[in-house]
Symmetry: C2
Subunit: 392 residues, 2 copies
């Protein structure tokens, strides 16, 4: 029978003698979750992926002077003095119809807009005088050969993918997606369906490939933890103080249990460790607590492995607290809130919110460890669950 | 040979006699792009989809009083007077170990935290006095049977998908994704690769299913426009004033050309129409102009068809203009800008920015039609290309 190391006693039926600071847990994970190596993917499927290396302009962009509008390519000096009341006839070959993007014909250095030309029996007339370069995009105007167009680490936007395709690239090197294995701990009666769906969706949101296995009892969990092929393991459930809360023991048996018990509410039974090189996060089975530990601990690891910005992918709004939010000194407490006219209103207690209450929330407020809470009317930062959508 | 209706003259070689307001184009599209019917998908794949109908709680949640923490379920009155210096021995059957989430055993109405109990030779002792209900989540605390948990129109969050899975649902009704057919106009030399990749990525970002066809000459384009199976058609390229700019003519031949020429820069050669019931947007081939017309016109249609919020999916930051932004009265002008210490700095002219310049932009500023522009130091709203990521 395995016994946990003395500095991490078996907490079952005893309670946590001490809990680690959330920041310590975050710092433990940081050096163990660095950006994965590159892989090549089709440019057409690269939006949202993370660029693994700088992309530089292979040639000047545009490669030659070209028309910046539809019209007549002309030698600018031939339009000298032209105007609405003084049309100037352009000689044969002095006015060449061009479409926007076409190279400038030899001998021309400006493009008259279509509206500044008219047809006459003798040929095309200019209705406006242009300086040289008007209506022309110069070679290299957008970028010089060798200039970095997109830096390594860029999360590719739709327009970036357009740029790469326009350069003639068919494949591009991006950071490999982290393979995140979600191991459900517990028996079939534990109802881990909510956790499984929740965690898989969170991992995908953060750019990972999610794979769900279980639910597992202790011995199976040890085996599943030892199975190769994951960049990060999330064990969900069986982390608490009950007799069957054997996930920390299974991790200690399969590898190393580095930390168990966090000064975080909900989510205080979370843990950390590793099996071989793969970091492991233990998440509580109560779904809202599981979501909290994912957001404040595991999510950053997924994003870091994928080369993404580690910050929470939520916009912040600063509003008053609609009522007092209490918090125990030493604990980070997470209140799910909805935004009302009065400000941020908790939808449930921090301790056991539940997913049904979470569904009513617009976001969450985080009370730092050193704070006793926020008085009614005090300003709080609300991390907003939904992406911003702004009206024009 | 088809001739366009007199109110929409062939602009090739002539120029636009008049251009429509962007707002008129948006209003034309609105009634023609309403949310599509529902389809059922697996709950596990439903994150990010749009709920087609309210989901109500089938039963009280939780369905019965249950432990809100790991500990000893007790009758609260049995702990009366207990404290650290006054442990009270609990009789056999008066203290039942429970894990968080388990139903309360009969005769108990509170849960002593593990830390507030100790073992003694005679049995379990309480170290704290509890009121009834402490450590207990009551039946219906999260939601009453019949209460709406998630409203129709909700873009399902990871935790929502967890909630649905936790209710035992395997499938859920969501708004069908719009099928958006992207038709490239022009010959192989037109280089529509950038547009194709850009538009497909934008359509996917907005929840649509993108399908790219072409490039097509005029006759093929007419046939492609008439092919069934699309909820929205985007025709890209050949919208301008050159002799080969036949996309508007092809649309008029296949269906109806409702509008050609927008008071928008870049993007002034955009158009609108329909083939049967399917709305059609004509987008310029210059990629940055194409992106502009997508964002300000087509994107809202894709989102509306998919039941999503129609607003631009960009967060706004208000900053000073780092230099003067000029704009022609009557035109909506879009400046791509990067954020510097001095504020919003254009990366290129509004007229022909190009994707390489766009890559340097953090977002865009939109100068409304009634404005001549913004002076240096004047406040502008910047629509930010990247999703917000907020540090804790």
């Amino acid at each position: 029978m395995f016994h946990p190391p003395p500095h991490l006693p078996d907490v079952r039926g005893r309670g946590f003698a001490a809990r680690s600071a959330l920041s310590d847990a975050v710092h433990w994970l940081e050096p163990r979750t660095v950006a994965l190596p590159a892989e090549e993917v089709a440019v057409a499927a690269a939006a949202g992926r993370v660029l693994a290396a700088d992309v530089a302009a292979p040639i000047d962009l545009p490669p030659a002077d070209r028309a910046a509008r539809d019209g007549m390519a002309v030698a600018a000096e031939a339009t000298l003095g032209a105007g609405g009341y003084n049309p100037i006839l352009l000689m044969e070959g002095q006015a060449v119809p061009v479409s926007s993007g076409e190279p400038l014909p030899p001998g021309t250095d400006a493009v008259l807009p279509v509206e500044a030309t008219q047809a006459s029996p003798l040929g095309v007339e200019a209705l406006d005088a242009l300086p040289a370069g008007s209506g022309v995009e110069r070679r290299g105007d957008q970028a010089r050969a060798g200039a970095v167009l997109l830096p390594a680490g860029r999360v590719l936007r739709p327009q970036d993918v357009g740029l790469l395709a326009g350069l003639g690239m068919e494949r591009v090197a991006v950071v490999r997606r982290p393979r995140v294995r979600i191991l459900l701990a517990g028996g079939p009666r534990d109802g881990r369906d909510a956790d499984a769906a929740l965690l898989a969706a969170l991992v995908r949101r953060d750019g990972g490939v999610a794979e769900v296995r279980g639910p597992f009892g202790r011995a199976e969990l040890v085996d599943a933890l030892r199975a190769p092929g994951a960049d990060l393991l999330l064990v969900c459930g069986r982390t608490g103080l009950g007799a069957d809360d054997e996930a920390p023991l299974a991790l200690a048996e399969a590898g190393t249990l580095a930390l168990h018990g966090l000064a975080l509410r909900p989510g205080d039974s979370a843990g950390l460790g590793r099996v071989g090189d793969a970091p492991v996060v233990l998440l509580p089975g109560e779904p809202a607590a599981c979501a909290t530990v994912y957001d404040l601990l595991a999510g950053g690891a997924v994003r870091r492995l994928g080369g993404r910005p580690v910050e929470l992918p939520y916009a912040v709004r600063r509003v008053p607290a609609a009522r007092k939010l209490v918090s125990e000194i030493g604990f980070v407490e997470v209140y799910r809130v909805r935004l009302t006219d009065a400000g941020a209103e908790p939808v449930a207690s921090a301790a056991v919110p539940g997913l049904a209450a979470l569904a009513r929330a617009d976001g969450f407020v985080l009370i730092p460890a050193e704070s006793e809470g926020v008085p009614e009317g005090g300003e709080v930062a609300v991390w907003m669950y939904d992406a911003p959508a702004e009206a024009l």
